[in-house]
């Protein structure tokens, strides 16, 4: 595990990754355990139908707001907020620490005194971030594939894959932004701050767009829009939405080495 920057980065991240993966699995398990109670109690259906539009808009995921169906429950309870949140936390932490973390700890000077170009160092760290994000997505999908039939939620493996892929791509977008800001500035706190603020702001824009007229014109700029609009838990994968998310991640990934190559490295 110590033969390349790529493998060393993965090795460094393993502990953090395991915590996030365990959290994700525990959360899915809890949701699945709760679902039968919600499904079998008609009061929940009435209650959720009577929620104000603002609540439905904020906590909904894609299609209709129906908390008693398997797809509706998973969307509202898991995919609308908590699942992307866990994934984003993990990728932003990884992205911010990739360059900026090493720079703030002072280990980057020695690493880049070796015959490793800045762009190669960055690309290996970027590849490690992609692998970690995909692995977390795989954990999510696997947990769902096991748990969903147990609770008789009636959501297909393909639909679960579609939602998991979109969530993974969304997390990759924010992780890449964190990596790019960290590579451009050398400051881990700034990288986390910018990505977290962007995540919150674009989430709010997308959630409230259907209620607030002028936000509707901004919705296209929110990655959450492409993440949720196809209602993947009911309709399966919309490839074009996935490609849009991957495209945004790619733009951030391309900007990172350009910004990193130009500047002076700082010492702690």
């Amino acid at each position: 595990m110590l033969s390349s920057v790529f493998l060393k980065t993965l090795r460094d991240r393993r502990r953090g990754f395991i915590y996030w993966a365990l959290g994700l699995v525990a959360f899915i398990a809890m949701e699945v355990a709760v679902y039968p109670t919600v499904r079998d109690n008609p009061e929940f259906k009435k209650l959720s139908e009577n929620y104000p539009d603002a609540v439905k808009s904020f906590f909904g995921f894609g299609g209709q707001f129906d908390i008693t169906s398997g797809a509706g429950f998973l969307g509202i309870e898991a995919f609308s907020m908590i699942v992307p949140l866990i994934l984003i936390f993990c990728t932003v932490a990884a992205g911010a620490s990739a360059i900026a973390g090493e720079e703030e700890r002072g280990t980057l000077d020695l690493l880049l005194s070796l015959p490793v170009s800045r762009s190669r160092c960055l690309l290996e760290k970027l590849a490690a971030l992609v692998v970690e994000t995909l692995a977390l997505g795989l954990v999510l999908w696997t947990a769902l594939v096991i748990a969903v039939p147990l609770a008789k939620m009636h959501v297909g493996v393909g639909e679960l894959l579609a939602a998991s892929l979109l969530a993974t791509a969304l997390a990759l977008v924010l992780g890449m932004i964190a990596l790019a800001v960290g590579a451009a500035s050398g400051r881990r706190g700034l990288a986390i701050g910018v990505s977290a603020s962007l995540a919150v702001a674009t989430y709010v824009v997308n959630s409230l767009a259907s209620l607030v007229g002028w936000l509707e014109h901004l919705q296209w700029a929110s990655p959450f829009f492409y993440y949720a609009r196809s209602d993947p838990l009911r309709n399966g994968l919309d490839v074009s939405d996935l490609l849009v998310l991957l495209g945004i991640a790619l733009v951030a990934a391309c900007l990172a080495p350009i910004a990193f190559a130009r500047r002076d490295l700082s010492t702690p």
Partner: protein, 300 residues
């Protein structure tokens, strides 16, 4: 002979603040080049410029005849670097750390690391976070030497090393130079540079003040004498004595620089009541003091 390092008009500003200004020097193959200056003088800046960690504002810098900016990876593959402010991966053991460094340098195992670790009596299996300052410095030294680099950039290499280990380090440097390899050694300790280097550049507030062979520098060496009198001696008491310069005076305490024979000074001192007399070899600060007191005669 081609220069291993060639700096011309090398200048680095960080925004408004000064890094180094208009440095020009050549380092020849097979020499230990001492780069001497007080903390904050620009020594680390110069070394980081050589490794392309920071970029010059103006000027040229070539190593092995290669541009350090455009051919940085080629330069770095033949260079070993010990940072002045060493930060290691705390969770790794020295063996794991050295294996990583060696792998990124394209070597199997630890390269020369195993032999060097043995020589420095560095324990390879304890996590780095549990190591003392001296042991960390050993890890830093071993990683700088493990690929048998043609050029070593060592920033304050003996910081934290105990005298015995310093001895080993000195021997290692002598071997390296005997093989025709080159050492760029930064330090703020005059005696260390005098002991190890062939030539010395003195840098102060970012500018090169002096570049001389150590032998020449040694000839300029002087003893610092501090005399405390019962009452302040006359202003001209020590003027015009051969080999004596008055450096400073605080009431009855007079600081003098002495070159050559002590006799004229002793005779002069004896004319007054001396309460205390202290003398020692000049350190870097004294050296600067003398350099600047001499003023014009030294600025030629």
């Amino acid at each position: 002979m081609t220069a291993v390092i060639r700096a011309e008009g090398l200048t680095k500003f960080y925004g408004e603040s000064r890094g180094v200004v208009d440095l020009g020097f050549d380092v020849e193959a097979g020499e230990v080049f001492g780069f001497l200056g007080p903390n904050g003088a620009g020594k680390t800046t110069t070394i980081r410029l050589m490794l392309d960690l920071i970029r010059p504002s103006v000027g040229r810098l070539e190593i092995f005849g290669l541009d350090v900016r455009k051919q940085s990876v080629a330069v770095r593959s033949r260079t070993g670097y010990l940072p002045g402010d060493l930060h290691l991966y705390e969770r790794l053991t020295p063996r794991e750390y050295l294996r990583y460094i060696a792998a990124l340098r394209g070597l199997d195992g630890l390269g020369e690391g195993e032999a060097l670790a043995e020589r420095f009596e560095l324990e390879l299996e304890r996590p780095i976070k549990a190591l003392s300052k001296g042991n960390r410095q050993k890890v830093g030294l071993v990683q700088a030497f493990l690929h048998r680099p043609d050029l070593l950039l060592l920033d304050e290499p003996t910081a934290g090393l105990d005298p015995l280990v310093q001895q080993t380090f000195n021997e290692l440097l002598r071997e390296v130079v005997a093989e025709g390899r080159t050492v760029f050694l930064s330090s703020h300790i005059l005696s260390e540079v005098q002991r190890l280097a062939d030539r010395v550049a003195i840098i102060r507030e970012g500018s090169l003040e002096l570049l001389e062979a150590v032998e020449t520098l040694r000839a300029r060496a002087f003893v610092r004498v501090e005399a405390t009198f019962s009452e302040p001696p006359p202003q001209e008491a020590f003027a015009n004595l051969p080999g004596v310069r008055e450096l400073e005076r605080h009431g009855p305490v007079v600081l003098l620089a002495l070159e050559g024979s002590a006799d004229p000074l002793i005779k002069a001192l004896a004319r007054y009541e001396v309460l205390a007399l202290d003398s020692h070899e000049a350190d870097l600060e004294d050296f600067f003091l003398a350099l600047y007191r001499k003023g014009a005669s030294c600025a030629e």
